[in-house]
Amino acid sequence: MTMKARSSRRSFIRKTGVALSAPLAAAAAAVPAHAEAPGDSLADRLARLEDVNAIRALNHAFARQVSAGEAQTLGIDASISGVVASEFGEHDVIDIAPDRHTATGLMHCAVTIETAIGPSCPLVEMAREQGGGVIRRTEEGVFENVYVRRDGAWSIQRSTYRQL
């Protein structure tokens, strides 16, 4: 794959992200016409679009799981207690590998970070009994995700968070 082709595909995906709520056909129609390259048939492009949608749904599920307190089980920083994807996901970049077995993605979001108040003391322990004892702050950040597709289903293979 040439850099140019890759770049054009990424551009397509960004635009798709903006038009996510529009009908699939409309989103496809919005893509500028260009010379068809190998792997760029309508079927290929639709398949990639389905991949992007599946990954985007995966991202939303990931955000919900983190917000439900499962950060540690997902292998990300346990201090992250909440993730809200940036509105409409317009800054997201999802890049599907040509073989459609792997993908990478940047998931821009607002992240809630909880830092335990310490050192612990009776008052802090009492606060923890009622779901407190932490300092919460919200920051803008991005998850750099690596996805893998197995048996037709995408999953997150690795997720790395960095503050913006």
Binding site: G69, S81, E114, I117, G118, P119, S120, C121, P122, L123, V124, E125, M126, A127, E129, Q130, G131, G132, G133, V134, I135, R136
Partner: protein, 577 residues
């Protein structure tokens, strides 16, 4: 109540004790017959439908869901357009407390039961909201519901049976009550509580004396008229069943501040990252005796021998003031009225030496030293010009003693809160004595008669204390001899609460030395010098646990949260012998 050893009643014992109660709750006031002759069907959201046929003022046929009807006793009282009634379910350890608004037909039902928690005597409750079915009428969509609109209020109550209490509602999930007649009104106690709004005047309040008798007190109160009707269900300190309905009258004693965002009326309890326990009737309950390790004296001695933490970083001191150098280079003797006298040399900003000296000035001049010098780490703060608070351990003392001392150098007065570790009940529970005295220092004559004094000027006042980012509690100086502390939920509502013995000493105008003991809890002794002009405190907390002995600094910023007008209820009574 902290010291009563409530019997761990078995389910079988409870069954026997409840047998007589199916005749219905007793009542000092005549029972209401407002329900007599009526049939009611109460539809509860997500709960069983309750069907009643009231055949008199104390007999009812009751059916729950699809179950067959049973005859049982009940008792009812009305408050305005609201009726509250209660009954048990025969041959079970369950019952109901039902509140019906006769104008709106809305109903709230507390299903109550024993033997639902490891302490069988602790009454459990499940609250359901619904309505009374009315022939030909559409089911109402409105419901009663939890609220913070009653948070911050306080009442004095006198039930028709003579029981007097002061009850503070500084939280949306706990409350604070003072048993003026049952236990003499010295201390206040706390219990998990429900607050439900009927309308702007009428609310339902309910508490369970969790960790104590397990008794549940539920009532409807009219906040304008200061009247209540309610029911009390549980076993007292002699294991006698208390099951009665009551009427009561009271006085509104005040309203303290709420700290939720404007517009938040408390339709949800903001529990942060904590899930409500899934068990039926589950709710977060502060159970300090279960979350804090209870140690023997020998265990404490061994832990202290391993480790002492003295003025290390603490979340309780994130907002402490600067450590003072006022004492550095000074030599003085603090002579207390109990004949204890200690000579100090403050060598460095955090290092002092002390030794005991003879108990009276005459003796002191004859025998200047009773012991060698001991060295301690200390911290001190100048809360007001010339008023220094400092704290240190007395190394080698058999009870791991700690001293928390306030010295007024302008007036040469001193007050010491002398902490010792261990009580007859718990090895890692602190005890404290208040020592008044004078400062002897070269070239000045200390007062002979004047001393700092205990005061009740703080009683009824509530103050928030922000110790460090994210860690804020509210003190409610609930009686002249107790203090309760409330932890805020993440939306600023009052949350969990506990209470312990306390005392208050006036140092100067708007400057008070207070202690509180986290008794029947984690055993910590907290001592603070409260400056109402700077709205800051400084102080020392002292505790022991499996990790050893801890003496730490306390420092927080304050805000006024209001005041309850309650002093008159704590004055000595006459004619009750």
């Amino acid at each position: 109540m902290h010291r009563i050893k409530y019997t761990k009643l078995t389910p079988e014992q409870i069954t026997v004790k409840l047998a007589a109660a199916v005749s219905g709750p007793s009542s000092t006031s005549p029972l209401s017959n407002v329900l007599a002759g009526k049939s009611l069907t109460i539809v509860l959201d997500g709960g069983p439908t309750l069907r009643y046929q009231f055949t008199g003022s104390n007999r009812v046929s009751f059916a729950e869901g699809d179950a067959g009807a049973v005859l049982t006793g009940y008792g009812a009282h009305t408050l305005g357009h609201v009726v509250l009634f209660s009954h048990l379910v025969p041959r079970t350890q369950r019952g109901y407390i039902v509140v019906i608004d006769q104008q709106s037909a809305l109903a709230t039902a507390f299903e109550v039961w024993f033997s639902g928690y490891e302490d069988n005597r602790e009454v459990q409750r499940q609250i359901s909201y619904g309505y009374v079915e009315q022939a030909g009428a559409q089911a109402p969509t409105a419901r009663h519901g939890i609220t913070n609109r009653i948070e911050g209020k306080g009442f004095y109550w006198k039930q028709d049976n003579g029981a007097e209490t002061i009850e503070y509602y500084p939280s949306v999930m706990f409350s604070n009550f003072v048993e003026l007649t049952r236990f003499g009104g010295e201390l206040s106690f706390c219990g998990p509580s429900d607050y439900i709004k009927i309308d702007d005047n009428l609310y339902i309040y309910s508490r369970v004396e969790a960790e104590f008798s397990g008794t549940m007190t539920t009532y409807v109160l009219d906040v304008n008229r200061a009247e209540q009707v309610g029911v009390r269900l549980g076993f007292d300190d002699t294991d006698t069943l208390e099951y009665y309905v009551f009427r009561g009258r009271g006085e509104w004693v005040g309203q303290i501040a709420q700290f939720e965002p404007f517009g938040d009326v408390g339709t949800k309890i903001a529990l942060g990252n904590r899930n409500v326990p899934a068990a039926r009737g589950g709710r977060p309950v502060y159970r300090p005796m279960k979350t804090n390790p209870i140690m023997t004296r020998a265990q404490v001695d061994a832990a202290v021998a391993q480790n002492k933490t003295i003025f290390q970083q603490s979340a309780m001191a994130g907002n402490k003031g600067p450590i003072s150098s006022f004492l550095v280079g000074r030599t003085l003797t603090l002579r207390y009225d109990n004949a204890t006298a200690i000579e100090y040399r403050f060598d460095e900003i955090q290092k002092l030496r002390w030794r005991r000296v003879a108990g009276s000035p005459a003796e002191a001049s004859a025998t200047p030293s009773e012991g060698g010098w001991s060295e301690e780490r200390y911290e001190s703060w100048e809360s007001a010009p010339g008023v220094i608070m400092f704290g240190h351990l007395l190394t080698g003392a058999p009870d791991h003693d700690a001293m928390s001392i306030v010295v007024d150098f302008d007036n040469l007065l001193v007050t010491c809160l002398h902490g010792t570790m261990g009580t007859p009940y718990i090895g890692n529970e602190a005890a404290v004595k208040t020592l008044f005295g004078v400062v002897e220092t070269e070239g000045r004559t200390p007062p002979k008669y004047r001393r700092h004094q205990f005061t009740d000027e703080l009683v009824g006042r509530a103050m928030t204390w922000n110790y460090s980012p994210g860690l804020t509690s509210m003190h409610l100086y609930s009686t002249p001899h107790s203090l309760s502390w409330i932890i805020f939920l993440e939306n600023g509502s009052g949350g969990m609460e506990w209470s312990g013995p306390a005392s208050y000493v006036k140092i100067r105008d708007q400057l008070y030395l207070a202690y509180w003991l986290e008794e029947a809890c984690n055993g910590t002794l907290g001592t603070i010098l409260v400056n109402l002009r700077t709205m800051r405190n400084c102080g020392v907390d002292y505790s022991a646990g499996p990790k050893g002995l801890r003496l730490g600094a306390v420092g927080a910023h304050a805000r006024h949260a209001g005041r309850f007008d309650v002093l008159k209820y704590f004055r000595p009574r006459s004619g009750e012998a």
